[in-house]
């Protein structure tokens, strides 16, 4: 199904940058440790004094949060120390990105707290700051205005979720994210994809995008006349299209359902009555278990909703169930889906009779603790009234099957209040200048420039950029050794990582390559030195000129003669023997040349 003509799409692209954490000195990566702590979060008044609707919502869930400590977390992630001042590298990156799209940078940046009490932030808020306003993005003829560019901290990764206990890990918390929000200027998924790609490309050109599957996540804003829906957590660009189409379909059916219900006369207040006695002899496991655990069965008529709950494309039943799930009530049952869950048609009809259902009426039935009944009722009513008002605006989560699920109402502005622990940041001229110098070019230009400047193929340049290695490359390569260095980075190191099943910190690799550069040692020497390091040699031992010197053709000849190496065996064997001598690095081309000469001798 194509998207309707009045579709408006906006994007919020979040990009993790690899410069350490935003408000402390922890690294970007860290293993999870065998230690944790638990917390509860309480909603507080925002700046304007009123609690925000979305935070109240979370608080009603009264959950315990457990946090697993990681090697790259400290007291700041644990909310046990105020943040340090902002990471200047992260700020500079945000400025460079702003400059790339002509966005106007604020002279003074205020760090804000955005209240989020789902536990994903230990403090109960996410720190975020508006860095720039305005500007626009062009890509393949599509243009989208920028509303804001923000620098924020990433949240915790969710590790496990149970009824009242949600477990998070601290490794991702506090990583800097650049958030670029566009105006709802896109009309189609393809346009949205083009714009999102352009943003990601610039970020790769900047060279600070973190490695990892979730380093770019986008939220998609979508509207087709029933209010704005914010779809969270679209990680793959390619799925935007399918997600939006599914969402458009959902809204269309929902609007149809509203029309039907309204035509029938609309809805009345729900009246839940206990119907447990009707199920005394039920064989439904769900019922038996529920009763055993002390729950009771309540049901209410849902006038005029029959046929729109779960028929054809109608899914009002699921809308209600999703809302209830947020307050930890599972398993709302409605007329239309029966028989199911071991419940029979006869049982359905008993309930229908007791509730005096008319032809167009549906019912809702809950197996819950009586304490929860009131909360369930008000949640269901709230949901139904929202739908009937044809205002479908809300926050939804993208699921793996490209459908979406209700998450919470849209967050309002009162969720935000100033981060009092961090003084307002004045953007200094040196910082701004330095950011300007590093403003990322468009990807194609940049690739061409790199290719030209370092004398490497466009393909190699692209690989360096897309694998997030461009900063490493430009940090050490020059016009002379570009080819060698790109080969080392693009090929040798991934091979070594694979062979030795481990990675070595770039700082150490860099030292090896610099040593070789300084001593005019070429590719084979570099590979030899790196091999030694990977196999466990100490740096002091590996960086040994005697081991790493490239042997000349003459030296190779002498070695072959002195050690009586048979030149008539294959080249791999000869190389192996020569290498085992540890007299220096052997260029296989030279050996091949010698073999050739030898062969020619033979044939002469």
């Amino acid at each position: 199904m194509p998207l309707p003509g009045n579709t408006m799409i906006g994007l919020e692209v979040h990009m993790q940058i690899d410069v350490g954490k935003l408000f402390c000195n922890c690294k970007s990566e860290g293993e999870l440790l065998d230690a944790s702590f638990t917390r509860r979060l309480h909603s507080t008044s925002g700046e304007i004094g009123s609690k925000d609707i979305s935070t109240n919502y979370e608080e009603s869930r009264d959950r315990l949060f457990k946090y697993i400590i990681s090697g790259n977390s400290c007291l700041i992630e644990a909310d046990e120390e105020p943040p340090k001042r902002i990471n200047p590298g992260a700020l500079k990156a945000a400025l460079s990105m702003s400059l790339a799209f002509g966005s106007s940078i604020l002279e003074r940046v205020s760090v804000m707290r955005k209240v989020v009490i789902d536990g994903s932030n230990t403090g109960g808020f996410q720190r975020t700051s508006l860095v720039a306003i305005g500007g626009e993005i062009n890509s393949g003829g599509v243009t989208a205005g920028i509303t804001s560019i923000c620098l924020e901290e990433d949240s915790c990764k969710k590790v496990d979720e149970r009824e009242n206990l949600v477990t998070y890990s601290l490794d991702r918390l506090g990583l800097p994210l650049i958030e670029i929000s566009t105006a709802p200027d896109m009309k189609s998924a393809d346009e949205a994809i083009a714009i999102a790609k352009e943003i990601g490309n610039r970020m790769m050109v900047l060279g600070l995008l973190r490695k990892g599957a979730d380093s770019i996540r986008q939220d998609v804003n979508f509207s087709m006349g029933y209010g704005r829906v914010e779809i969270k957590g679209v990680s793959k660009l390619s799925s935007i299209k399918e997600i939006l189409e599914a969402e458009a379909k959902r809204q269309e059916w929902l609007a149809k359902a509203v029309k039907i219900v309204k035509e029938r006369g609309g809805y009345e207040e729900l009246k839940f009555t206990e119907v447990s006695s009707l199920f005394r002899d039920s064989n439904s496991k769900m019922v038996i278990k529920g009763i055993e655990e002390g729950r009771r069965i309540f049901a209410s008529k849902l006038p005029n909703f029959r046929g729109v709950m779960k028929t054809e494309g109608f899914r009002v039943g699921r809308e209600i169930a999703d809302a209830l799930k947020q307050i930890n009530i599972k398993g709302v049952i409605h007329y239309e889906e029966l028989p199911a869950y071991g419940l029979t048609l006869a049982e359905r009809d008993m309930v229908a009779a007791q509730l005096e259902l008319k032809e167009n009426d549906s019912f809702l039935m809950l197996i819950i603790n009586s304490d929860s009944a009131n909360m369930a009722k008000s949640t269901i009513e709230g949901r139904i009234e929202k739908i009937l008002s044809l205002d479908f605006s809300e926050t939804r989560a993208a699921l793996v099957d490209n459908s979406t699920r209700y998450m919470r109402p849209l967050s309002g502005s009162s969720r935000m209040y100033p981060e009092t622990d961090i003084p307002v940041i004045t953007i200094s001229s040196p910082l701004l200048e330095s950011a300007t110098e590093e403003t990322p070019q468009p990807l194609s230009e940049f690739t061409a420039d790199i290719s030209k400047k370092y004398g490497i193929s466009g393909q190699d340049a692209e690989t360096l950029i897309s694998e997030r290695n461009i900063k490493k490359f430009t940090g050490i390569a020059n016009d002379k050794n570009g080819k060698i260095i790109s080969r080392i980075i693009n090929q040798t190191i991934p091979e070594l990582n694979k062979k030795y099943q481990r990675e070595i910190e770039w700082e150490n690799i860099k030292e090896v390559l610099e040593f070789c550069n300084e001593n005019s040692l070429g590719r084979y020497s570099m590979e030899k030195a790196l091999g030694l390091i990977y196999s466990g040699s100490r740096k002091e031992d590996a960086l040994n000129l005697k081991l790493l010197r490239p042997l000349t053709e003459g030296q190779i000849k002498i070695l072959i003669e002195r050690h009586e190496i048979n030149l008539h065996s294959n080249i791999a064997d000869i190389m192996k023997k020569l290498n085992a001598l540890d007299e220096g690095v052997v260029d296989p081309l030279l050996v091949a040349g010698l073999l050739n000469t030898e062969k020619n001798k033979g044939s002469n």
């Binding site: 702590f37 917390r39 507080t44 700046e47 003074r108 205020s110 508006l130 209040y417 009092t420």
Partner: protein, 414 residues
């Protein structure tokens, strides 16, 4: 910009900046920069090219705690507020945190508290604890004494910075007390969802209804929102500047705990009495000196000038450089009291072991044993204020308010 035209806190303004027209709620001006809250919630701080007030707003003054002063049914508990992080609020104009009196926001969080307790809020002051003076300890003590007569116990919300000093002072002033006096603070201000104030206060109110006839501190046991310790005031110390579990019971296990909704007291404690006996005199001419290499005799002499007493934080067993002894000895002969404590915090002084200690004793310096330095300081003020000079040494070495550990177990250390 004419004064009359200046927007006020809360006004909705329209303004242009770098050619963009925007709208937002005006917050404040800070050297030509307008602080404005945009519709999306972000604050920006910009110099507008032009602006116009499109709607006069209601100034969002901070809620000064308009809630009822008494609420709930159940055991009567008085809550004396003295300021500090636990009742702190953000001043959205300056961005700073300042103390507020709106304790109701905390208490209303726990519905069952209203059923179990009748909480009475008594406003004492609104100051940060680093600014509290000994004179205010006396005022707090008097207010506490008054409240104890009509409540099961008293909870005092207090800034954490000098909470242990105040707790010690109250402990010494109350020779007898009719109910628990529990100080409570928070290390994460109440304006953040992760604040420790909720649980600390919930526990404090519970501890205040127990048999504990002493002065205690109710704070987190570890980094989790899991267990709250009741720490004897005279053995408490703030050991970390920022963590929730900053307060430690030094050299002894906490006297009580609150976990999973259950309160427990353990160890030895004084039970509450049928009457209050309050001794509020304090000798203020007392100094607390941190010994260290490089402290010259003249430096020390300045700290003793005009003082009736001095607590020295010595090294190890209480030692100080022997070069000071003559000077100290002269003043002790002149009537000044000198007490040695240890800057190690943990462990005891003992002037019997090394030659330095024996010489210190000869010079008239009294060993504080394992009294904490800050507690020894408060105790000295109390003793010099209320007892004769002759009683001083014996009382300093007598365990009056649990300030001396009769024995130190092996398991109670870092």
């Amino acid at each position: 910009m004419p004064e009359s035209n200046k927007p006020e806190n809360g006004d909705i303004i329209k303004f242009t900046w770098k050619g963009k027209e925007m709208e937002g709620t005006f917050i404040s001006i800070d050297s030509d920069f307008f602080n404005v809250k945009l519709e999306n919630g972000y604050n920006i701080s910009i110099k507008p090219q032009s602006f116009e007030i499109i709607k006069k707003g209601v100034s969002f003054a901070v809620n000064e705690g308009k809630g009822a002063k008494v609420s709930g049914k159940g055991k009567p508990i008085s809550l004396i507020t003295t300021g500090g992080t636990i009742v702190s609020k953000v001043d959205y104009r300056t961005g700073a945190v300042f103390p507020s009196l709106d304790i109701e926001e905390l208490t209303s969080r726990f519905r069952y508290m209203e059923q179990n307790y009748r909480l009475k809020r008594v406003d004492f002051s609104n100051i940060l604890s680093e600014n509290i003076e000994p004179g205010q300890w006396v005022e707090i003590a008097k207010k506490t004494e008054h409240e104890l007569r009509n409540s099961e116990g008293v909870v005092i919300s207090h800034g954490t910075d000098t909470m242990s000093y105040t707790a010690s002072a109250l402990a010494f002033m109350f020779e007898k007390q009719m109910g628990p006096v529990i100080l409570v603070g928070s290390q994460r201000s109440s304006d953040r969802p992760s604040s420790d104030s909720y649980l600390n206060l919930e526990a404090a109110v519970g501890f205040a209804t127990s048999e504990f006839g002493e002065v205690g501190i109710s704070m987190h046991h570890n980094s989790s929102d899991e267990r709250i310790d009741l720490i004897r005031g005279t053995r408490s110390r703030k050991m970390h500047s920022t963590r929730r579990d900053a307060f430690k019971s030094i050299g002894e296990h906490p006297v009580g705990a609150f976990q999973d909704g259950l309160f427990s007291l353990s160890g030895k404690y004084r039970r509450k009495c049928r009457e209050n006996v309050l001794k509020t005199k304090l000798e203020k001419e007392v100094s607390l000196v941190y010994f260290h290499p490089g402290l010259e005799v003249e430096d020390l002499e300045k700290s003793m000038d005009g003082k009736k007493g001095m607590v020295i934080m010595g090294t190890g067993l209480g030692h100080i450089n022997t070069k000071y002894l003559q000077s100290i000895s002269e003043r002790v002969k002149g009537g000044m009291k000198a007490v040695a404590t240890t800057q190690c915090i943990y462990g005891s002084t003992n002037l019997d072991i090394y030659s330095t200690g024996r010489e210190m004793e000869k010079a008239g310096i009294i060993s504080a044993g394992n009294i904490l330095p800050e507690t020894a300081y408060v105790k000295m003020m109390h003793l010099l204020g209320n007892y004769s000079e002759e009683e001083f040494e014996v009382l300093m070495k007598t365990n009056m308010r649990g300030e001396i550990l009769e024995r130190e177990e092996l398991g109670v250390y870092l």
